[in-house]
């Protein structure tokens, strides 16, 4: 792998007395699908929150395509091409699906308050152009029947997909997926897996996947990082990690 897209070095995050992340380092190459696994409370979501600026890590650096990420605001980082889905659905419930997608394109648009009021010139052109871009995502993710439905009323599986759609609408270079198949049955999981595979194939996009469903991770990921209580315990190909004794001990416990 040549120069990585994302370089995370020695990330350490503490809340009060609790250490959520402890010296986490990894890189993600362009077009790579990188997965983070670990039992609950291992700090998986904390990595995401550091990556997009919601949390400020006490130590460590995050570099995206040569630019420093940590210390910047979430909105700035989003503008740098980091998109994300949320564990507990971060859709804006009262906005329709298409409005949620359009929000994904917010940082690519320029219309300000006054221009928006006037609905004139660029404001109108922008709305039309970006709407077209969103429609392509609607089509890719087969969301056609739900365009005008408020996100809060979408069925769970569709909402998860819509969130993926919004992240894609941001035209990201790095996509962070926080438990995209949590609470889904096998059929729905397969659907989601298909979309992920397809997105990966169609777009030259790096992804980081945080997931409980180890089967999905093992099937899709190029490389896997295993965490336990914020500390990295193994990194490598799915097979390597799967058979690492420390991972078996920490994650799968005696039940494996």
């Amino acid at each position: 792998m040549t120069e990585p897209l994302l370089d995370v070095w020695d990330l350490t995050l503490r809340f009060g007395g609790v250490t959520a992340l402890n010296g986490v380092s990894f890189t993600v190459g362009r077009g790579e699908l990188f997965a983070v696994i670990g039992p609950n409370g291992a700090g998986k979501t904390s990595i995401f929150n550091c990556l997009n600026g919601v949390y400020r890590p006490q130590r460590g650096t995050i570099t995206l395509a040569g630019q420093r990420v940590n210390g910047r605001s979430p909105a700035t980082i989003a503008g740098m091409g980091v998109a994300r889905t949320f564990q507990n659905l971060g859709l804006f419930e009262q906005l329709t699906l298409i409005e949620n997608l359009m929000l994904g394109r917010h940082h690519l648009m320029r219309t300000g308050m006054l221009a928006g009021m006037a609905w004139w010139g660029r404001a109108k052109r922008e709305e039309v152009d970006h709407r077209a871009a969103c429609e392509e995502i609607v089509e890719l993710l087969e969301l056609e029947p739900y365009r005008r439905i408020p996100a809060g009323l979408l069925p769970y599986g569709v909402a998860k997909r819509a969130e993926l759609g919004r992240a894609l609408a941001m035209s990201p270079t790095l996509l962070l997926l926080d438990e995209p198949v949590a609470g889904m049955n096998v059929e729905e999981t397969e659907d989601m897996a298909r979309y992920l595979v397809e997105v990966r194939r169609e777009l030259d996009l790096a992804m980081i996947l945080v997931e409980h469903d180890t089967r999905l991770v093992m099937d899709l990921a190029d490389r896997v990082l295993a965490l336990d209580f914020g500390t990295p315990i193994a990194m490598g190909t799915p097979e390597e990690v799967q058979h690492d004794p420390k991972v078996v001990e920490a994650y799968l416990g005696g039940a494996a």
Partner: protein, 267 residues
């Protein structure tokens, strides 16, 4: 004819916000003294069923539009939550929902709200016997307990009501496998002391391994039911609700077939 089931749900229909139909003619029984598992994907209506039993639908603008809920033969359809608890039905809610700001002991006191004052000592001793760890932390703030401990507290709190029937909503959610096992053992132990259990789970292996009978829910209806052992062996159930078992040779997610659409994606 066996004894009256501790919980019997007949042809139940539940609607949210006057529009969204979530349960469509659901029926199930929990025989006295048994553990019954309720399986199903997210959104199948498992939690809604529990709410319909305990009366918590009111907090979600839901309404029973048809059918009945009887507890030990008494009709409790649409009863007030407080009444349901007093009739011996306690619920451990999904996500534990302990009162994080209060002490462990105050959580248990709240759990015993429906009981007489005089019975409190006895009830709380019983819970501390079951969960010695909670006794150690009785003055501690509940929010500082670990995930597993919080789950124990949630179960202990429900037991404070001395229920005939315990409803458990996803007790293994978000717990490491080791803790899941602990929870499973506790459930068996509670059942051994004579409390019937209705166990709602995504972790079907865990649930069916201790249940005597199981129901599978799909979009608000029971699509399959039978003795737990039978369900564990059923091929369809394995495929759709259990995922693969080590020897079933499932296909990889990376290879799920994807049919092309008319239009190409272009960034």
């Amino acid at each position: 004819m066996a004894t009256v089931p501790v919980l019997s749900v007949n042809n139940l229909e539940v609607v949210y916000d006057d529009v969204v139909l979530v349960l469509r003619g659901l029926s199930l029984d929990v025989p006295d003294g048994s553990i019954v598992a309720l399986l199903g994907a997210n959104g199948a209506g498992k939690t809604t069923l529990l709410r319909a039993v305990t009366g918590l639908l009111v907090a979600h603008r839901g309404k029973i539009t048809k059918g009945t809920v009887t507890v030990g033969g008494d009709d409790l359809t649409g009863a007030d939550p407080a009444d349901v608890v007093r009739r011996g039905v306690a619920q451990v809610m999904e996500g534990r929902r302990i009162f994080a700001e209060m002490s462990v002991e105050d959580n248990l006191r709240a759990g015993g709200h429906s009981r007489k004052r005089a019975e409190y000592r006895e009830d709380v001793t019983r819970v501390y016997d079951l969960f010695p760890l909670l006794a150690q932390r009785r003055r501690g703030t509940a929010g500082y307990l670990s995930g597993g401990e919080q789950q124990m507290l949630a179960i202990g709190r429900a037991l404070m009501a001395r229920p005939k029937l315990l409803l458990l909503d996803e007790p293994s959610l978000g717990l490491a496998p080791r803790l899941v096992e602990q929870v499973r053992d506790i459930v068996v132990q509670i059942n051994g002391q004579g409390t019937s259990v209705l166990l709602v789970e995504q972790n079907a292996v865990m649930a069916l391994s201790i249940a005597s009978y199981g129901y599978v829910l799909e979009v608000g209806k029971v699509v399959r039911d039978g003795p737990a052992a039978e369900l564990l062996d059923d091929e369809d159930i394995r495929e759709f609700y259990l995922g693969s078992t080590p020897d079933s040779g499932r296909r990889s997610f990376a290879e799920v077939k994807s049919y092309r659409r008319k239009k190409r994606w272009s960034a």
